[in-house]
Amino acid sequence: MLPNRSRTSVLVFLLPPLLLYCAAVLFPILQSLFLSFFSWNGISDMEFVGLDNYVRMLTADDIFWRSFFNALLYLAICLVLQLGGALAVASLLTSLRRGRELIKTLYLLPAVISTVAIAFLFVRIYSIDPVGLLNQLLHWIGLGSFERAWLSDVNTVLAAVSAPEGWRFTGLYMLIIYAALIAVPKELEEAAVLDGASKWTLFTKIRFPYIRPVWITTTIMATTYGLRGFDIPYLMTNGGPGQSSELLTTYMYKTAFTSTDFGYASTISVFIVIECLVAVGLILFMLKRKADS
């Protein structure tokens, strides 16, 4: 604590940021919680319905559950692409002698592009008429039978809208993991190599345990970002065809701003928050426990 500080000086520095934060984040969270117990379309009077919204969501709403499982699959695809891809590329990059900076820059490029631009781009990549990049590629390598309109096929659309999100941010996570990997002490690695450790043991026994704290952070980041994924599915398919690429976030958005069912939309967004908190708790629980054993 600074010796000459006064109570007012603390308030002068703390209040403005706290007010902004309350107005934009804390208060809306409480407001959502409050609204979730009401039925309201924004115009007529608010009607208190108790837990009705929650009961409806959990027991009577098929679209909700469909979106929930879609969101989990979306998350899984994003995590594999982002974390798996990031770890693989970061490891490969450490074995490279030159050009690391250039590759880092190139790899990060998609993260700078807006989601709207990415949605446009991928609509064309997946397109069948005129033939897009993906279908043309499949044709060339002799998998022509897989050619399809990826975004209108109910079996592929969810994967097709997840991939761009994974593609977009894998560079970001790669950077973070790479920074952690090159911080692994060289002596540790050299000692292990002298003891005859293979590349694989070197990775699982030395490198990975060493970067575990960073790995936990990146996993949490990627998971919370994956669970709030919205832009790309919303822009590319708007949840369709049918509900096959509907996520909780897009469903919430439509419930709020298309059906103007503010109460029910708040219930869904409260669920999304709980889901995020549970996910973070689970990750901490699993990864921390493994570290202890």
Binding site: N4, L20, Y21, A23, I29, I113, S114, A265
Partner: protein, 301 residues
């Protein structure tokens, strides 16, 4: 037959080490070539779509509709760019994005610094609790704020303004900014503050004369990292802004989807190229600082 002859001939006992050595020498280089090839492939996957985007923006419409998508354009044309500027108000969109990014960044940096100063340097009884409050904003998804803010904005007439985008963008970015500034302030030695205090400087002068000038590097980090997300924000702009005059780049690009979902693709791609250029240039010029910022933002978090 072979098993019989092999042990019978003594010279072979001398030979085996040789292949072993070459194998050991070749193995890493094989590994290295493989990893190089893999990295090249992955970089192509990351970069080629963007290069393709640019090439397509230079294609003629006919070429785009009929040609092989991987082929180089048969002839280059700037016509798409002319059409892109006719269809949308790209200049206006870029200006709006710029205003929103600047406004949010000022709040994020100034308020982040102030809160970190109060929590980390001045210190007070509930500082741990306040720090915890700010942590919530890192985990909680932004979508939770959409409905409440929409309702609040409409009661205080803030819908369809720059502020309606700036406030939530700044609010949700504030926790990370506070975090980065706090962890930087830890490195400023206590003696510096104590000496200044003895010389009679109060908390305001210390903030202005010591803390602020010392943290310029962190300011750059915070601004760069946040700018990427704010410049590209879609969800807040899409929810709170309706009028053409206030549309930021992501919304402006949506105007290129015409009636019945018909899209003038080559012009759209030209517009995309125009709008990603400012941030792309900043990124390429400052990529060292930006990469460092992204790394530190997460490894400390």
């Amino acid at each position: 037959m072979i098993t019989q002859t092999a042990p019978a001939t003594p010279p072979t006992a001398v030979v085996p080490p040789k292949p072993a050595i070459t194998r050991r020498r070749r193995k890493p280089s094989l590994y290295r070539t493989l990893s190089r090839v893999l990295i090249m492939l992955i970089v192509i996957v990351q970069v080629y779509p963007l290069a393709w985007l640019f090439l397509t923006s230079l294609r003629t419409e006919h070429d785009f509709a009929t040609g092989d998508p991987f082929a180089l354009p048969s002839s280059l044309t700037w016509e798409n760019y002319a059409r892109a500027f006719e269809t949308g108000d790209l200049g206006r969109n870029i200006l709006n994005s710029f205003i929103v990014t600047m406004g949010a960044n000022v709040l994020i940096v100034l308020f982040g610094m102030m809160a970190a100063y109060a929590i980390q340097v001045l210190g007070f009884r509930l500082s741990k609790f306040v720090r915890g409050l700010f942590l919530i904003g890192i985990i909680v998804p932004v979508q939770i704020a959409l409905v409440p803010l929409f309702i609040d904005y409409s009661t205080v007439n803030l819908l369809d303004t720059y502020q309606s985008m700036i406030i939530p963008l700044a609010g949700f970015a504030l926790p990370m900014s506070i975090y980065l500034f706090s962890s930087f302030f830890e490195y400023i030695p206590r003696e510096t503050y104590e000496a200044a205090s003895l010389d009679g400087a109060g908390p305001y002068r210390i903030f202005g004369l010591i803390t602020l000038p010392l943290s310029l590097n962190t300011v750059v980090t915070v601004v760069l990292v946040n700018s990427i997300f704010i410049w590209n924000d879609f969800i807040f702009a899409n929810t709170f802004v309706l009028s053409e005059d206030l549309k930021t780049i992501p919304l402006g690009l949506q105007n290129y989807i015409g009636a019945m979902g018909k899209v003038d693709w080559t012009a759209t791609f030209a517009a995309v190229c125009v709008t990603i250029t400012p941030l792309l240039l900043v990124f390429l010029v400052l990529n060292k600082a930006m990469i460092q910022g992204l790394e530190s933002g997460a490894t400390k978090g």
